[in-house]
Every structure is written in structure tokens, then in C-alpha cells.
């Protein structure tokens, strides 16, 4: 932290000249090309439901935030899917959370129960909508429920995404809405007791980009984090599970999305406080939400593109083993993250190939190597597997062909065991 000399020469001549005013302006965004090559991280949000913290224009959405939507059962029921939560479940991301696709019926709340098997799975049988003889009566009720759920899902989705990026294009969502609505109409609407055939086809014919439509009310693309977040809020209607006990004042307003005027109390106490001006128990006041959202580009470039599902990466031909994971590579003396993606193992010509594809819209390759018999592979820590190989694509452009330890982290230790065992087997 250096001292800085004056940036401008000041003399008896120029000292009383009017300086030209300088404006703060707003920052410029990098080009698409540059953005493509950047690993952009989504930040973990601690304040669940605090999506509309951009006050100002979005204050009106206060009531729509997921946290406060807990009272309405229908949305809760579907919030898991509506925002792609179900998709994540389909993608193999088992986070053990209630709202994963398998569990939508139960833990998703009192919502609609869909009979039929896991018909939500797009790559597999999209033979959804086996409506089981829904009689007009229940169908009508069903229809209302469906419609309510649909509308609430749309509302939430729009809220969230417009909060994230006021400039996003909402057309795709309305197209999806139309589609879903017409399918509801068909199935539950005016006396439609059968509606099975229409439905699945509609859903079955997704443009490759919207293959997720198999899941009901799935809208465009959302990121994994959204879904996780939504799931967790969906699973507990009242976010009381999310409590921040800071030791001093627990201000419940912290939990609400907007307008918490007194934030958590703060102190970095380090023993005796020599500060006469404040006590360590003092709380902060006026931590108002930021209410000028300047026209920032959404860091998530993909929101500008037509909605695409997450499950795209699942479509790996000939993969006999797939697992969601996070990949790290060793650089200098520490591990750096390469990305989050899905690991696939494929057999080609008697050899085994390991591909890890990123869970992004582009699905770029994080790793693509052949599994050699001599490739070191070990089980490390709680849920990691480490291998050493020459990474492709290279991680170090200066030494592209030297071996690098790579760490593959999976969700559970069982998964890690499984992966390790599988790799070992394939090495032979």
C-alpha cells in the first residue's frame, strides 16, 4: 500500500482553473469472444429469497419472492420444477434434495401427484402424461391446480430472471407458457379426460434446445444454483430453517428479501477494543438494499440466448458411466478449479475414454483423455478421486504435454468409491 504522489502538477498558474468535471460512468463489458473463454462463477447466495434485493424498481416484487411464497402451496409444489429444479434432478445431480425429480410427488408439498413413472426424464421416456383416467370432476380441479401452478411458476421465473437481468428477453418464456397452457388445456381442460397422446408428443418433440420441456412447466434455462436454491426453498415453505444467528441481535428481517433496514450486528473483535467510538455489539443501521441497478450486463451471457436446458450434457452417446463432478487441476502447489461438469466414460475400440463436459450452455470439454493402464488413480479424501495424466485440453500452455494431477470431486463418498472402482476396472 504505497504512497501516491500527486497526479497533476499544481502551480500558481493553474490552481484556480476550473477543472473539467469527471463522471463515474458505467463499465464496459467484454466482448462475446472474451466472455466465452472466461470461467465465470456464480456466487453462492446466503440470503435465500433475497433475489430481489435490487430495491427501487423491483420493490414491487417483494411479494413474489420465493421466500414469501411459502404460504401458497401450489407454487411451492412446483417451484422445484418450474425453475428447472426437476431438470437438475434429471441431469443426475442428486443432491439428495427433496425436490429432485424423483421426489416431486411427496416432498414437493401438497401439489399435484402425477402418476406414472418418472416421466419427467427427457432423454428417457418422455412418455409422460399418462393421464390415468382423470374424470372430468377431478380433472377440472386438476386443471385449476395445474393452471395455478403454471402461473405461479411463470411469475417466479420471470421475477427471478428480471431481477437478475432486467434486460433479458422474456419471449421464450411466453412461448413455453403457451405450450404448457395448451397442454394443460388438452389434458385437464374442458372435459379432457384423455390427453395422454397429445401431451407426450408435444413434449416429446422438443427442439434440441428445449429438451427439458418434458418436465412440466420447465422454463428455459436456469443455472444449477438457481435450482438448488429453489429446491431448498421449495422444500421448506417457511424459510425458518434458514436462520442466521449472529450472536448479537438476530434480526429476523435479515431473512426477508427486501428492506431489511438493520443488518446483522457486526464486530471483528480482537480482544480488547480500544475504540471509544463504538462498542463491539453495535449493530449496523441502514444497510439498505442497493436500489440503483445500472444497466449491467448479466454475467450469465446465456440469458440472452433462447432457453436451453441443463440436461443437454446428459446426452452422451455410448457413455456407460456418467457422473456429475467438479474438476480441479494442480498448479504450482495448489489445486485450481477447472469447472463443473459431467464425467462420462465411453468405450471405443476396446479402449476407455474419459470425457468431462462442462455444465454450461456450450458444454465445452474440460477433459478428454484415454484411460491408460498406467494412469495413477487414487481415492482421496471424502469424495474425490485423483488421477494423473497429460490433460487435454492442456491446463498449462507452457508445458502442454507434462502430466498434471487432476482432482475429480463428486457428490458423495459412495460416488467417489464407485468412480474410483470403475476407473480401476477400465484400466485393465
Amino acid at each position: 500500500m504505497a504512497k501516491r504522489i500527486a497526479d497533476k502538477e499544481l502551480t500558481d498558474r493553474n490552481w484556480d482553473q476550473e477543472e473539467e468535471g469527471e463522471e463515474a460512468g458505467t463499465f464496459s463489458v467484454a466482448s462475446e469472444d472474451v466472455l466465452k473463454n472466461r470461467a465465470i462463477k456464480k456466487a453462492k447466495r446466503r440470503n435465500i429469497g433475497a433475489e430481489s434485493e435490487a430495491g427501487g424498481a423491483f420493490k414491487s416484487f417483494k411479494g413474489f419472492s420465493l421466500a414469501s411464497a411459502g404460504g401458497v402451496s401450489a407454487p411451492t409444489a412446483f417451484s422445484g420444477f418450474g425453475n428447472g429444479g426437476g431438470l437438475k434432478g434429471l441431469g443426475g445431480l442428486t443432491n439428495g434434495n427433496s425436490a429432485s425429480f424423483g421426489g416431486f410427488s411427496s416432498t414437493a408439498g401438497p401439489g399435484v401427484t402425477f402418476n406414472g413413472p418418472s416421466s419427467m426424464m427427457p432423454p428417457c421416456d418422455i412418455g409422460t402424461k399418462q393421464t390415468n383416467g382423470s374424470a372430468p370432476g377431478p380433472a377440472h380441479r386438476e386443471y385449476s391446480r395445474q393452471l395455478t401452478a403454471l402461473n405461479c411458476s411463470v411469475r417466479d421465473w420471470i421475477t427471478k430472471h428480471v431481477n437478475d437481468n432486467p434486460l433479458c428477453d422474456l419471449q421464450p418464456i411466453f412461448r413455453d407458457y403457451e405450450r404448457h397452457l395448451s397442454s394443460i388445456e388438452r389434458q385437464y381442460g374442458s372435459g379432457g379426460s384423455e390427453g395422454g397422446s397429445g401431451g407426450p408428443e408435444e413434449k416429446n418433440a422438443p427442439a434440441p434446445s428445449s429438451g427439458s420441456s418434458a418436465a412440466l412447466f420447465s422454463f428455459s434455462k436456469t443455472t444449477a444454483e438457481d435450482s438448488i436454491r429453489d429446491q431448498s426453498s421449495g422444500s421448506s415453505p417457511v424459510p425458518t430453517s434458514v436462520t442466521f444467528n449472529f450472536g448479537q441481535k438476530v434480526d429476523s428481517s435479515v431473512l426477508s428479501s427486501l428492506g431489511n433496514k438493520s443488518g446483522p450486528s457486526f464486530s471483528f473483535s480482537s480482544g480488547s477494543s480500544q475504540m471509544p467510538l463504538f462498542s463491539s455489539g453495535a449493530s449496523f443501521s441502514g444497510s439498505k438494499p442497493d436500489d440503483d441497478r445500472t444497466t449491467e450486463e448479466n454475467p450469465d451471457e446465456e440469458s440472452e440466448e433462447p432457453p436451453k436446458p441443463e440436461v443437454k450434457e446428459v446426452k452422451e452417446n455410448n457413455a456407460f458411466y456418467s457422473k456429475k463432478c467438479k474438476l480441479f487441476y494442480k498448479k504450482d502447489s495448489e489445486f485450481k478449479e477447472k469447472g463443473v461438469g459431467t464425467l462420462h466414460l465411453k468405450q471405443t475400440d476396446g479402449k476407455t475414454q474419459m470425457i468431462i463436459r462442462a455444465d454450461t450452455n456450450l458444454g465445452n470439454i474440460l477433459l478428454n483423455i484415454m484411460v491408460h493402464s498406467s494412469m495413477p488413480c487414487s481415492r482421496v479424501g471424502k469424495n474425490n478421486v485423483m488421477v494423473v495424466c497429460v490433460p487435454n485440453p492442456p491446463v498449462d500452455d507452457k508445458n502442454p504435454s507434462s502430466p498434471v494431477p487432476l482432482l475429480i470431486r463428486v457428490k458423495t463418498s459412495e460416488d467417489a468409491d464407485e468412480l474410483h472402482k470403475t476407473l480401476e476396472e477400465e484400466k485393465k
Partner: protein
């Protein structure tokens, strides 16, 4: 780069007029001469204002618009054309004549030409090759009028461009003028001082030439007088101005020895009570302190700081500006040098300075504070005790943008050098919100500084086990969205810095706080076989 000043007040009404006037026949005209000078002074002041934009930084001794009603010399010579300026040819003729009277007349005519308001024919006069002649007249102590006229004329030539000043220097003017500083005639002495000021102010080269020729000593000797009020104010102002030009310019800075010689005089002048003298002396100090720590040391050692701090509270903008700059320069030095400024009680002035109606003063004040918060945490404590942090936060919220930038620096330096308690205090002052708001600026440098501050605060919170609260707060203030968004910034550095913060403190990783091992040695959450020699490829 030239350092140039514009005209200032003209000659003082010397009380030595007796000596000079004895040269003229019309003794009784001294009233009109004084009148002449007074008008000249007024005109000069007006010209100064008018020429403000001209960036002419040397000072020309200018004739008033209406020619003097009578010239003493004209009366003498009936053949002279009344109130009509001679042509250059005529001047050449007169100068080259062997007739002293004609020479005097011609010199005066040249002086008048060179003193006219609009487009004095400096280059024409230079082209005549007469400069050495003028210089030779400077030595004619038996004819003070011609000394005076020649000095005046040369002063005005030297007030022009570097080329024009150099022409004067090459004519051998420097030693001649230095001699004239000790002239028994005060108006001639003053004119010589003025000329030397123009020459020194031209740039480092000419300045150092003046010093090499021994220009300093006679100037400084003048200030040995026990009481400065013996000098007419104009005279003292001229002298101060010339001394300030001797302190001016960098690359190179004035010779260290010269500076050391100058300083005692500057200290003296700093205690004088004339506003202009004080202002120019402070300018001199500001030039001297705009230099290496070694130079700053010399100034501090001379004991100037307490007086500077006193002047900082003078409320007079013409004095406060250079004083603030001087003190701001001093605190770019060592911690000890900075401490001197603090010990003199400077910070007490800063609440007002940081809220000054002139944005430039605010900016300079914030810059100064930023260099103090770049110091030791005891010095940061002094800033806190002076109640300055809430004011900085105010500036961040709503200040002039240039001042805000300095305030951002002040905050970042603070977070870098402050103790945990001090940083906690800073948060208590609600710095986060306006700081995060400024992340939308287009200046990537400022963004980086802010991100630096945020990172420092987070790191400190992390070490204190309070990072969760802080992260939540940042999120609630909309800061997280902004930081996340900055990953799309044009600047690679901004991208990296924002990514780093997200990675370290807002990582999606559920298990460890930060997946990527920190640099604190306690890196590996997992075992990694160290021997890579077994890997064969």
C-alpha cells in the same frame, strides 16, 4: 514544459525616486511618474486577469494603453516625436550611435515597444541582434536611466518563449542582472530581480544557469534584513516570486545545495504577513516538496511544517491551495515525515477541507488523507480520532467524482494497513454501501481499488471468524450482484479480481469454505501423493 506566469503588479513606487529623478530635468514630474507607475500597476493587474488563459507564465512589464502624458526625455529633445513609438529601424539607429543620449532614447523606445499591450515585437527586436547591446547597457552604472530601460526591455524579451528567453541568456544577461540586484537604485534592483525570475522560470536549464552564476546569494542577502517591512510590498513580492521560480521545475530539481541555501529565507518569508508573499512562498515549498523523500526531508528539517499547518487554517484560498499541496506532498514521504505533519495538528483542519466548497480542495484533502491511511495503523488511528472516516463515507456517497476516487484510495489503504478493530470501525461507518455502489463506474482502475478494499475486508472478517455476516451484508447491499457481474468486465484484471472474491468467499462449494487452498500453507484438505516420479508416460 514551461513554467510560466503572467504579469503581475508593476513596479513599486520606489522611495528612491530622488536618485533617479535627479537624472531627469523635470524633477517636478515625480508625481506623474508615480501616477504612471500606479496606472501601470493597474493595467498589469488587468492584463493578468485577461491573460489567464494564455498560460504565459513569465511576467512582462507592460506599458499602459495611453502613453504617458509626457516623457521626461521628450521634453528634453524637441525633435522627439511626442507619444509616438519609434520603429525598430529607428531604434537600431539610435542604439548603434555613439551618442549616449540617443542610445538612451532608443533604449527607452525599445522598452516602450516591448511594453505595449498587444503583440510586442519581441522577435523583431531579437532579430536586430541588439540584445548584447542592451546587456552592455546594464553595466553603465553612471547612467542609471539606461540601466533601467535596458533592464526593462530585456525583462520583457525574456518573458516570452523559451527561445526568446534563451536569446537574452545568450546575450550574457544573467551575470549582468545578478550584478544589478545590488544596485543602489531600488527600482533597478527590482527590475533585475524580475528579469532573473523570468529567466529562472523558463525551465530547469536556465534556472540552474542562474544558480551557477551565483544568482542566489545576492537575492538571499536581501532577506537578511532584520525586518522585512523595510521593503516596499511590490519589491518583496517580486523577490519572493523570483525565489519561487528558483525552486520550480523538475527533471532535474534544483540542486540540493541551492535548496538548502534557500530554505531559511523561505522560512522567513513564510512568517511574513503579506498575502501574496505567503502564497508565493507556499508555492515555492510545494515545488520543493514535489520531489524525493530526501528533498522532503530537507524541507521538514527546516522546520516549515508547523507554520504550513497554521497557514492551512488561514481560510484564504490563494494560500490554502499551495499549502495543502505542500503538506500533501510531504505525506507522500516516509512515515516519519508524515508524522511531522500529524504532530503539527494538520488533521484538525481536514473536516473543513474535506467539505470545502471548492472541489479541488476537497480532492487534494482526500488525496492527502489517502496517503496518511497508507501509513502506520497509529496514523490511521489519528485519522479516525479526527473524525474523518464518516466524512470520507459522505464523499463516497455523494461527492465530486474526482474526490470520490481519492476517498476510495483512502479507504483501500486503510483496509490494507488497519487493524481488525479499525476495519470493524470502518464498517460501522457504513462504508460498504457507497463503496459497493461505486463498482459501477467505468474506470476499471477505480473498480480494482474497490475490489481490493472489499477483498481486504473480507479477508479480515474471515480471520476473525465473521465472514458469513459480512458476506450476507455484501449480498444484501447488492454488492454481490455487482461483483458477480464484474466478471464480464472488459478488463481482464477486473475479471480476475472479481472472480477471486467470488471464489474465495462466495464459492458455491458446499463443503469447504474455499475449495482452492489458500496460500497460508495449510493447503490440502486432501492427501496428495507428493512423489510424481512414479508416473510414466
Amino acid at each position: 514544459m514551461e513554467s510560466r506566469t503572467v504579469q503581475r503588479s508593476g513596479m513599486s513606487a520606489g522611495n528612491d525616486s530622488g536618485a533617479r529623478l535627479s537624472q531627469f530635468k523635470n524633477k517636478g514630474k515625480d508625481a506623474s511618474l508615480q501616477e504612471l507607475r500606479r496606472r501601470r500597476a493597474e493595467v498589469n493587474v488587468e492584463l493578468r486577469k485577461a491573460k489567464k488563459d494564455d498560460q504565459i507564465l513569465k511576467r512582462r512589464n507592460v506599458q499602459s494603453l495611453d502613453d504617458e502624458p509626457t516623457s521626461p526625455l521628450q521634453e528634453k529633445d524637441p525633435n522627439a516625436q511626442p507619444s509616438q513609438l519609434c520603429s525598430v529601424e529607428e531604434i537600431v539607429g539610435g542604439m548603434n550611435s555613439q551618442n549616449p543620449e540617443q542610445q538612451l532614447r532608443a533604449t527607452q523606445a525599445a522598452r516602450k515597444l516591448l511594453s505595449r499591450e498587444k503583440h510586442p515585437p519581441i522577435d523583431s527586436i531579437i532579430a536586430t541582434g541588439l540584445i548584447p547591446k542592451f546587456v552592455s547597457f546594464l553595466a553603465l552604472s553612471e547612467c542609471p536611466p539606461i540601466q533601467f530601460e535596458a533592464a526593462w526591455a530585456l525583462t520583457n524579451i525574456a518573458s516570452g518563449t523559451t527561445d526568446q528567453t534563451t536569446a537574452v541568456v545568450e546575450g550574457g544577461a544573467i551575470p549582468a542582472f545578478i550584478s544589478l540586484v545590488t544596485s543602489p537604485h531600488q527600482h533597478i534592483s527590482e527590475q533585475a530581480i524580475w528579469a532573473l525570475g523570468n529567466i529562472a522560470g523558463d525551465g530547469s536549464n536556465n534556472r540552474d544557469l542562474v544558480i551557477k552564476h551565483g544568482g542566489l546569494l545576492p537575492l538571499l542577502a536581501l532577506l537578511a534584513a532584520p525586518d522585512l517591512s523595510v521593503f516596499p510590498s511590490g519589491y518583496l513580492r517580486n523577490l519572493t516570486w523570483t525565489l519561487s521560480n528558483l525552486c520550480r521545475n523538475k527533471n532535474p530539481a534544483p540542486p540540493l545545495q541551492a535548496v538548502q541555501q534557500l530554505l531559511p529565507s523561505l522560512v522567513r518569508l513564510l512568517h511574513h504577513d503579506d498575502r501574496q508573499v505567503l502564497a508565493d512562498t507556499c508555492w515555492a515549498v510545494s515545488y520543493l516538496t514535489d520531489s524525493s523523500n530526501e528533498r522532503i526531508e530537507v524541507v521538514v528539517h527546516a522546520g516549515l511544517v508547523p507554520r504550513l499547518v497554521q497557514l492551512l487554517g488561514s481560510g484564504d484560498l490563494t494560500i490554502v491551495t499551495p499549502t495543502l499541496r505542500s503538506l500533501g506532498n510531504i505525506v507522500t514521504g516516509t512515515d516519519e515525515q508524515t508524522q511531522c505533519v500529524l504532530n503539527a495538528g494538520a488533521l484538525a483542519m481536514f473536516p473543513n477541507l474535506l467539505r470545502h466548497h471548492k472541489p479541488n480542495i476537497q480532492k487534494e484533502a482526500a488525496w492527502t488523507v489517502s496517503n496518511i491511511t497508507a501509513g502506520k495503523n497509529t496514523q490511521i488511528q489519528e485519522v479516525i480520532n479526527a473524525g474523518l472516516m464518516p466524512i470520507l463515507v459522505e464523499i463516497l456517497q455523494q461527492g465530486d467524482y474526482k474526490t470520490q476516487k481519492e476517498a476510495v484510495w483512502a479507504v483501500t489503504n486503510y483496509t490494507s494497513g488497519g487493524t481488525v478493530d479499525q476495519v470493524a470501525y470502518l464498517l460501522h461507518c457504513n462504508v460498504l454501501e457507497p463503496l459497493l455502489k461505486l463498482l459501477t463506474t467505468k474506470d476499471s482502475k477505480v473498480i480494482l481499488i474497490i475490489l481490493d478494499a472489499i477483498y481486504n475486508i473480507l479477508q479480515m472478517a474471515y480471520k476473525s471468524g465473521e465472514v458469513e455476516k459480512l458476506c450476507l451484508m455484501i449480498e444484501e447491499l447488492g454488492g454481490l450482484d455487482k461483483i458477480e457481474g464484474l466478471q464480464s468486465h472488459d478488463s481482464e484484471a477486473v475479471y480476475k479480481a472479481s472472480l477471486n472474491i467470488i471464489d474465495r468467499f462466495f464459492s458455491e462449494e458446499n463443503e469447504d469454505e474455499s475449495v482452492v487452498p489458500e496460500a497460508n500453507g495449510d493447503c490440502y484438505a486432501f492427501q496428495i501423493p507428493e512423489d510424481q516420479s512414479t508416473f510414466q508416460f
